[in-house]
Symmetry: C2
Subunit: 415 residues, 2 copies
């Protein structure tokens, strides 16, 4: 959608806070140099962040003769953020301070057949209550709760439109949560959560266009274009897993054939093993995680079949990533999510080689392919970042009390 | 790359001029309503365009009792723009007034083996001289010359980096042209020219994210995201023709196999005919244009083989376009260039059906697929639009004399 001057002000506010989080304590002059903004603009934005009590003045820098420069730093105690990762088999909740350090974690199991929305909502509410209590902070200091749910979501109405693996269709998730939680609530999906986490704290930070390739059970490509998330007109951009790699190839649960996901998602990798070595000891038929773990261990041990499986998977992955490189010409491609982190460097090396064979020379030369450097769960970090962005969006214009504006169903904010 | 407040001001300037071109005469109040900008912002931007003499005051609107509202309109005689379309077999040049009406056209043939850069540059210079003379305007009233050349271009240095069909490698095209032409010069490729033409005057106008699918000898997808052209980090985004549709499929001149282009570019369509009916009378072996024309005529006559060829081509095209829909979630997909315009509605109908079979429901529901509504050559129109954007970029900040700033080799502007 079209960007406005207001979007730019919001983006600048994000950028200044990112720099403060990365480099506290820091002077306004350093912030201006790091962001390319004018000192006057930085001073205004810093003032807004001080008003929001997200940052604080922490003294003066020594200066050689000139006027001493005031330093600001994140006020870690100025508020807290919650990130909720609702997945097919668990609900994972983390509470962060404003420097995005984890203060507390909670996890609830979602058993097969027990994913009714009301039940999961109860688990989320309990886990949020638990992390807030354990961190010993007041619920009124939680600036917002970001929620990630798989599949297609409608952020504006807070509805989980379609989550096949949970069997959710049009679930008014934030309405249901608002019955339990008083904080402003924000909804999106894991693909976009991981991407915003990379934009703020990972490999996409400060880069031009970036693509975050998520490799899990499903696969997708979060698009960070022009310094922000590219959502598309109905918030469903990034369905790279359902682009065609082999016309008339393997059947996909989306109804199509030959989708990227059927070759490089965890079940696709299991199929690659089956095709290369039908009786392989690597295969744990009903357990994707165990299979990928076994594959990773076998690769580390130099097992030739495992190496072949990784090479074949990387051949598919390299072709699919080359499509992204040729089409979007990004500065960086980040491999994220559990399959990427478990297979790690050996997969990365093979992928780089495969992309070098497939991609056009000019975009290839401009692109770096890396593993995600984010050490914790990127989904809950990203979900909390959505809440942080929500809290920042209104800075300078309105109080926290209306921070969830734009979504009519937001819970009433705490006094 | 990251957008700045200055980019937004430039985009707003574009938008106001677009609205004035579309709706002259028009009041500032109507412009504010149409663009969503404040009346104060519109008044400032209109003032800049008046200073540039691109628009003019044309009297007052009747108003029921209130203060009469001043009307502005494009000053068609306020300047002229030249669009140059350098293709494999011809050089096509058009001169436009500021409402982007064509005032004069010239064409020069490029014969096989006669595409040396110096020779083509001479042809461009002669054709530009010819259109300026025939339109009877002074060369000093030409605000800029936009040049489109196939392949990979470096806009900042004005170098045609790689144009395989012309056998050009690293040709300093704008330096060479500046020896003949005194106007500010702008370089880009046909894919981006068509896309910017759709953004200003075609189906992408006023839309959110749009994709312009170019179907010619080669194929590509111009990306109009967030109201502007998505160029990527090295200005090579859009190489959809070299994304993989059939892994290990037909060999492509890029060195890869199974690229979209090998199935839906004009030579790919010829191959589709060969595979369906090896001795087909539709085939003119050495002539793509004649073959596509014969195919279009046979479809119109209801020839069953021709219908089958279009259906098969649309099957490939539908899968490739679904990839764009799933990945980018655009509001509109525009089919452009000569193959699309010659095969027209019959191809469009089959493509829509094929995309409906392939794409995911949510992005599919948000996307319209249309034929380009631009009635003239979109490449020269787009190239002239680059010159118009160049002239606007500096509005309010600097005079026309420095309009080519940012490219060191720009010809000295006329006095």
């Amino acid at each position: 959608m079209k960007r406005t001057s207001r979007d730019i002000r919001t983006a600048n506010r994000y950028e200044v806070l990112r720099q403060i989080i990365a480099g506290s304590p820091v002077s306004r002059q350093e912030l201006a140099a790091a962001t390319g903004l004018s000192l006057a603009t930085v001073a205004t934005l810093v003032g807004e962040l001080l008003d929001l009590r997200m940052i604080t003045e922490v003294g003066f820098e020594d200066s050689a003769g000139g006027r001493p420069r005031g330093l600001v730093a994140v006020d870690a105690s100025g508020g807290a953020l919650v990130g909720v990762d609702i997945a097919e088999t668990y609900v994972h909740v983390e509470l962060f301070d404003l420097a995005l350090n984890v203060l507390a974690r909670a996890e609830e199991e979602v058993r097969p057949g027990e994913s009714r929305p009301e039940r999961v909502v109860g688990q989320v509410a309990a886990a949020v209550g638990s992390v807030v209590a354990r961190a010993g902070i007041g619920a009124d200091r939680v600036l917002g709760v970001g929620v990630s749910v798989p599949g297609q979501v409608d952020r504006d109405t807070g509805v989980a439109a379609y989550a096949p693996n949970l069997d959710w269709h049009g679930v008014p998730l934030l309405d249901l949560l608002a019955e339990h939680l008083a904080q402003p609530l924000y909804l999106d999906n894991p693909l976009r959560a991981c991407t915003v986490a990379e934009l703020w704290f990972g490999a996409a930070r400060g880069r031009g266009d970036a693509v975050v390739v998520n490799l899990g059970t499903g696969v997708g490509a979060g698009l960070a274009l022009g310094g922000g998330l590219h959502r598309g007109v109905s918030n469903s951009a990034g369905e790279w897993g359902h682009t065609t790699l082999v016309l008339d190839g393997r059947p996909c649960h989306c109804g199509n054939h030959g989708c990227v996901e059927t070759y490089v998602g965890a079940p696709g990798i299991m199929q690659n093993i089956r095709e290369l070595d039908p009786g392989s000891a690597l295969l744990h038929p009903a357990d994707q995680t165990a299979t990928v773990d076994a594959l990773a261990r076998a690769v580390a041990a130099g097992d030739p079949v495992a190496l072949k499986v990784v090479r074949e998977t990387a051949r598919y992955l390299g072709a699919g990533i080359s499509d992204l490189v040729n089409l979007l010409n990004p500065q960086v491609v980040v491999l994220s999510s559990w399959v990427a982190s478990r297979l790690g460097e050996p997969l990365l090396d093979e992928v780089r080689a495969a992309v070098a064979r497939h991609a056009l020379r000019r975009p290839l030369a401009a692109t770096e392919i890396v593993l995600s450097p984010i050490p914790t769960d990127p989904v809950s970090l990203g979900a909390a970042t959505f809440a942080l962005e929500g809290a920042l969006q209104g800075a300078g214009q309105r109080s926290r009390a209306t921070a969830a504006r734009g979504r009519a169903v937001a819970g009433a904010p705490p006094a």
